[in-house]
Subunit: 324 residues, 2 copies
């Protein structure tokens, strides 16, 4: 891939290796403070004494703004709720900051606001503060939403908590969201719906049984598991016949020559669980399944049906499409 | 002014009356929760028991990205720090979410990151979490930054706290920021610099002596004072010969036919103070001055040098330029 090192490239926003590199360059120039921990996780943690405050943010430009199973408002709410949830926090409040392009249909804006409210009511997490700005035409493509959120918890789930012997689970099929957006962009017909949904209630129900937890948004399962494995200093083996992808999702990926492991979900989580708790977790979570095992070593590998091992790398380069 | 009611217009993002109307329409569709207070203020307040958590957010698209006295990174940091500060909170951590247009110069991005860090170090407020995304060309104009912040305080300053008899003060000259941006847009030569700066230390130093406090960003002094007067159910009289505007700022406004009362600052606050504390406040704050008085009634009026009274309305319509 040819890149001009003086200009920011799309792959630096993909959620893969180039993103991680850009973010680490930016972070170097930010000051961090010892009162906060987990600042390289989905959310940062501040110790309030008898409990911990978790704080996170997420920015969304979504094309299309409305898609099967959701819209930019729903995805912006779920993104931040889920980032708090995977840290083990109970979200207490969200901010919604909206930048709107002049001329954006008011009806669409109100539809998005209703969709924000629906998630707020469903989860009982209030939107408590915000910012609403309108820019000249061409300064932004339709609408951009950034959410931030605060949550409270006694115990934080760390990405470094996966243990050798743990089972790896997903809360449901992966990549549905990306597949829906891909299908829209390339004008494929599909009955798939985005998986976009809040995860806080599901995660809270099994919280004390998870040793690590992440939601595979940008960068997909590959980025999630590589991060957990790297931080936990373990290796992971996935079983091909337990891969959590729907047939339609795989078909869309095959058509476009993409790796399913890079596909984003917006309403699923991946976690590690001590095998003595696996049955209890699967009972609580209706659509969860075991997809692999944590072992000694490093890296993520797929054990194929032919018993070969294939390394699953952290995605790099431009993901088609930018989902969020 | 002709507007198409089906399309979002620039004046709905101006910080004036049309903005307030749009935001109230959007808010109607959001759920609010009784655990949070001050949700229509600069920040929302959550009661943690022995102290209060304040949470706020601000979105920035700035043109030009770099200006005399600052850049988009500095303004994004100061905007959120100041929103926490005017509520009386000590900011404990910020999030920085950046959306970058593909092809944006990397050198400029690192300059912005350094500027973010400089404010962080100067104020000792860490950036603890963030999001960095890159969009295709044309999806955003260069760069957009949304900051959110959390702060802690024992006592919240409310905008409804102004009392009859209070003095009205400003922490310094107003509108410098807007004047710099205006000068740039219209290619006027000026030696003015943006007032963009963090206010938390200044406000903390006089905190217990302020009865209300706001920073006059979008919508300027007119929007600030109208909000305080409305919420406090009081009238305010400003003295023309005490107006806190520099000559160059007034000249730029006159040339462009704008009202100085609508001009944004990004590093100033306006407050009301019991007259028994005014001297102490002015001693603590180097550049503060009294600009008027709170009396019984409603609305904001300018007492001119000819002893006439002129009503200062909340700005409406398109402010030139959109500053942030």
């Amino acid at each position: 891939m040819t890149t001009n090192n003086n200009k920011i490239s799309i792959e630096q926003g993909s959620g893969g290796a180039a993103s991680a590199d850009l973010i680490s360059q930016l972070r170097k120039t930010y000051q961090l403070d010892s009162n906060w921990t987990n600042t390289e996780d989905d959310g940062a943690v501040f110790d309030l004494g008898n409990e911990k405050l978790v704080f996170t943010t997420d920015a969304f430009i979504v094309d299309p703004v409305f898609f099967a199973g959701g819209d930019i408002g729903k995805i912006a709410m779920c993104g931040t709720i889920n980032d708090l949830a995977v840290m083990g926090a109970k979200p207490i409040g969200l901010s919604v900051s909206i930048i709107i392009e002049e001329g954006f249909p008011k009806e669409d804006l109100l539809k998005i606001a209703k969709s924000i409210n629906k998630i707020s009511q469903q989860t009982n997490i209030p939107v408590v503060t915000g910012d609403t700005k309108v820019t000249d035409k061409g300064k932004i493509d339709k609408i951009e939403i950034t959410t931030a959120g605060v949550g409270l918890t006694k115990t934080v789930i760390n990405n470094s908590g996966a243990k050798i012997g743990d089972d790896i689970i997903t809360s449901g099929s992966l990549g549905d969201h990306a597949a829906v957006i891909l299908a829209h962009r390339f004008d494929y017909k599909t009955t798939l719906e985005s998986d976009c949904q809040p995860l806080n209630q599901e995660i809270q129900s099994v919280l004390n049984m998870l040793t690590s937890c992440k939601d595979p948004t940008r960068g997909g399962l590959a980025a999630n598991l590589n991060e957990i494995a790297y931080k936990s200093k373990v290796k992971m083996i996935l079983e091909e016949d337990q891969l959590p992808y729907k047939k339609q999702t795989v078909a869309i990926c095959d058509l476009l020559g993409l790796s399913i492991f890079d596909l984003a979900s917006e309403g699923r989580f991946v976690a590690t669980v001590n095998p003595k708790n696996t049955k209890a977790v699967l009972t609580k979570l209706k659509n969860a399944q075991v997809i692999g095992k944590v072992i000694e070593g490093n890296g993520i590998y797929l054990k194929t049906n032919l018993e070969t091992l294939r390394k699953i790398e952290n995605s790099s380069g431009k993901l088609i499409p930018r989902i969020c």
